[in-house]
């Protein structure tokens, strides 16, 4: 009973008692006192609750906020100026290759693979300083993939220092969890992976233009830094990416972004050449001879675009990678130019939006509720052409293909934002340089690669 209610009924009770001549004055007084005592008890209870509420409100500004959702576990200070986020990525794949038993011993390449198992720690301190540490437990060895520090001067000027993805390939820059396919396209072979250095970048024109410029140690195609520079030279990298229609609500071009990225530097030494270009099934189809060394300028240029319109998504890039090589330390130098491109598309059958940052299902898969998450179909074509001059002086025509053309078809089932099941079929056809033997010495090249890669993924 509220105190106000009590106050209202007290006079009525008193009046009622007064009307009853049987009641004595002292009984009336006792009743009044009892009511008064009851009123005090209620007031005390109300005040105690008020004090509790005040204490809770006072404590709130200093209580850190802990959030657990499909973006990970975030612990943020009450003022949101400092935060720490734990994320993870686990990808368990099964790879099955078809019609590749033509080799004498056959190819032993079917099986389960722990493709990625990452623990990701990110933090922000004093609002403008951030860090990222990505440890990889999948693959063949434990490694630190990313370790970098961010300094945000403003949205238009942000520095990044440490180890991170070189800002060149558009698909390469996309999160491993949100690409259309389980594996990035063969065109991705032509851009460097994770490098060490410093970049500056930011958003201009209200986010319609994004830029990155930087100086990195410099890497061969597809390579990741070993935490040491293999020469004294550096690569200058840059990327400019525009989304000119991003604010034009309703326009068919609203989701169109395009740009160009590139790098320029000099390399010298065996580590400057790529360790190999890989197929969608992650088998090597091209590599330089062990005697080949790089010596001289290398540069890349990569025009690229991304388009999203409702459930439909389209991503494309064309990359030219140029490297100067010698067949030996004293051999004649040649400039080789390898080219690659890809066009990948996806359509979310269940109506959710296609996005560079992944599909968010409208409902999670829940058997008891009869909801199924989101389904997406994907398709891709891609090509990589090796410079004709590479053969036979710098690469073996018997063990390397001169061109790879691939297509892929996929079905992605997003059980929730964090959990997905993906099924991709890839086929890669190979061409060879003139003079190549009828039966290549590399077993993987003796037939077109046909593979089915399934993946169970948890990404948060």
């Amino acid at each position: 009973m509220r105190n106000s209610t009590l106050r209202k009924i007290a006079p009525a009770l008193t009046a009622l008692l007064a009307l009853n001549p049987a009641l004595r004055a002292d009984e009336l007084s006792d009743l009044r006192q009892a009511l008064k005592a009851l009123e005090q008890k209620i007031l005390v209870l109300e005040r105690k609750q008020e004090l509790k509420d005040e204490a809770a409100a006072a404590a709130a500004p200093t209580t850190p906020k802990i959030t657990v959702n499909d973006k990970g576990v975030t612990i943020a200070s009450a003022d949101a100026v400092n935060s720490l986020r734990l994320r993870g990525l686990v990808q368990l794949d099964h790879r099955a290759f078809f019609n590749d038993n033509g080799a004498a011993a056959g190819l032993n390449n079917n099986g389960f693979v722990l493709r990625r198992a990452r623990l990701i720690t990110e933090g922000v301190f004093a609002k403008n300083y951030s860090f990222q540490l990505v440890t990889e437990f999948g693959g063949s060895a434990v490694s630190i993939l990313d370790a970098n520090l961010g300094i945000a001067i403003s949205p238009a000027l942000q520095f990044k220092l440490g180890k991170f993805k070189a800002p060149i390939g558009i698909e390469h820059l996309q999160s491993d969890a949100w690409t259309f396919f389980n594996e990035r396209s063969i065109a991705n072979n032509l851009v460097p992976n994770r490098d060490l250095g410093i970049t500056a970048g930011g958003d201009l024109l209200g986010g319609k233009l994004n830029y990155t410029v930087g100086i990195l140690n410099g890497l061969a195609d597809g390579a990741s830094t070993t935490n040491a520079d293999f020469d004294n030279e550096k690569d200058v990298v840059g990327r400019i990416f525009a989304s000119p229609f991003k604010d034009d609500a309703g326009s068919a071009l609203q989701g169109l972004s395009f740009g160009v990225a590139g790098s320029y530097g000099r390399e010298k030494g065996t580590a400057g050449r790529t360790s190999g270009y890989r197929t969608d099934g992650q088998q090597t189809f091209f590599s330089y001879l062990a005697t080949t060394i790089t010596d001289g300028p290398n540069w890349r240029v990569s025009p690229q675009f991304d388009y999203r319109n409702g459930s439909f998504g389209l991503l494309g890039e064309y990359t030219v990678s140029t490297v100067n090589v010698r067949p030996s330390a004293t051999g004649a130098k040649s400039e080789l130019q390898n080219k690659g491109w890809q066009l990948a598309a996806g359509y979310v059958l269940t109506g959710e939006n296609s996005s560079y940052a992944g599909v968010v299902p409208a409902t999670n898969f829940d058997w008891s509720k009869g909801t199924w998450g989101a389904f997406e179909v994907t398709g891709r074509i891609a090509n990589v052409k090796i410079d004709d001059q590479a053969f036979p002086l710098y690469a073996s025509a018997a063990s390397s293909a001169s061109e790879a053309s691939a297509f892929g078809l996929g079905l992605n089932w997003y059980l929730s934002k964090a959990v997905a099941f993906k099924l991709d079929y890839y086929q890669t056809n190979f061409d060879f340089a003139p003079g190549a033997p009828a039966v290549p010495s590399a077993a993987v090249l003796r037939q077109d690669e046909k593979s089915l890669i399934t993946r169970f993924q948890v990404a948060f």
Binding site: L43, V44, L51, A55
Partner: protein, 331 residues
């Protein structure tokens, strides 16, 4: 030509003065009932400092239970000065926080307490329960409002005043502990600070008597009407000496040592003492106290030093973990 030259000189001087004028901010971390006192005092000091140095000083205020405020400063609340309810809380800044020297109390006159106060009773108009002295508070059916001695300096003064009254009347600490235990059985709500208790009694209508700082009792009369409440002066009470000091580590880091020290010293000036007296704090300057005869009741006062051997000892015996208050309240 002369006029132009003079004008230019004046402008240049004004510009130089403006360029050199500093804008300073101080944080005064204080106990619960001093809000009104420091609102008035801060204005006066800012004007004084501006006239003296040309600098603009803004004083921010933070109020709460004295013990709670002291812990806040130790935990990082960036106080330039503290004006707390009792010396034990300031001692904690030296002992636990290492923010001030141990002999901080000797840095300003009168043990760094520029004004004093005492504890009185605020009762409903007409004093319906007939409360006249401390022993009325332990009678059955009397509802007493006092804050929590663990967090409130005022509550600790209340506690010690009751204790000393009982010790004198009943003889010995054991009897005093029993007396105070009975008193706390009559306390239905423990607020964290003195202002909270005033709210409980005056605005929420809980209790028969509020144990209040003298200044807080007068504040309640002034704010909520002398027709609703009245002050009862007990036979004896405690001389409360709320101390002040600057927080050395913080002012050194901020470069505000001079202004922080001047701020506290200004409390001892005639203007500072008058402001204190106007706000029902007993000024040290007796000539100024004499100007406000209606603001302070005549009452026999004892000191913590005389009755309890000082605040360090009193704190340890009564309010530290496992002290008499814990023993009483655990029951």
């Amino acid at each position: 030509m002369k006029f132009k030259l003079s004008l230019l000189t004046a402008l240049a001087l004004a510009g130089a003065a403006l360029a050199s004028a500093k804008s300073i901010e101080l944080l005064n971390v204080s106990y619960d009932p001093t809000r009104e006192l420091y609102v008035e005092f801060n204005k006066a000091f800012a004007a004084h400092w501006k006239a003296k140095t040309g600098d603009d000083v803004t004083i921010k205020q933070s109020h709460g239970g004295s013990g709670k405020q002291a812990r806040g400063v130790i935990d990082g609340l960036p106080a330039d000065v503290v004006t707390l309810a009792l010396a034990a809380d300031v001692d904690a800044l030296a002992e636990i926080g290492k923010l001030i020297p141990a002999d901080w109390q000797k840095r300003l006159p009168d043990n760094s307490a520029p004004y004093t106060s005492t504890i009185v009773f605020l009762v409903h108009k007409g004093n319906p329960k007939g409360i006249k002295d401390w022993d009325d508070l332990v009678k059955p059916g009397i509802s007493v409002i006092t804050p929590n001695p663990k967090t409130s300096g005022g509550a600790r003064w209340n506690y010690l005043a009751a204790w000393e009254f009982a010790r004198r009347k009943l003889g010995g600490d054991e009897a005093a502990q029993g007396f105070v235990a009975k008193l706390f059985k009559n306390v239905p709500v423990l607020d964290s600070g003195a202002r909270g208790s005033t709210t409980t009694f005056v605005q929420r209508g809980i209790g028969d008597v509020l144990l209040a700082w003298e200044n807080e009792a007068y504040y309640a009369l002034k704010e909520f009407g002398a027709d609703k409440f009245e002050i009862v002066t007990p036979s004896i009470s405690i001389l409360a000496e709320p101390p002040v000091t600057w927080v050395d580590k913080r002012v050194k880091k901020k470069g505000t040592a001079d202004v922080a020290k001047a701020y506290l010293e200004y409390l001892y000036t005639d203007e500072g003492q008058e402001i204190a007296a106007r706000n029902f704090y007993r000024p040290r300057n007796q000539a100024i106290a004499a100007k406000f005869p209606d603001n302070f009741a005549k009452i026999e006062l004892f000191t913590v030093d005389a009755a309890f051997g000082g605040w360090t000892k009193a704190q340890k015996t009564h309010f530290a973990d496992g002290g008499t208050f814990d023993q009483i309240y655990a029951k």
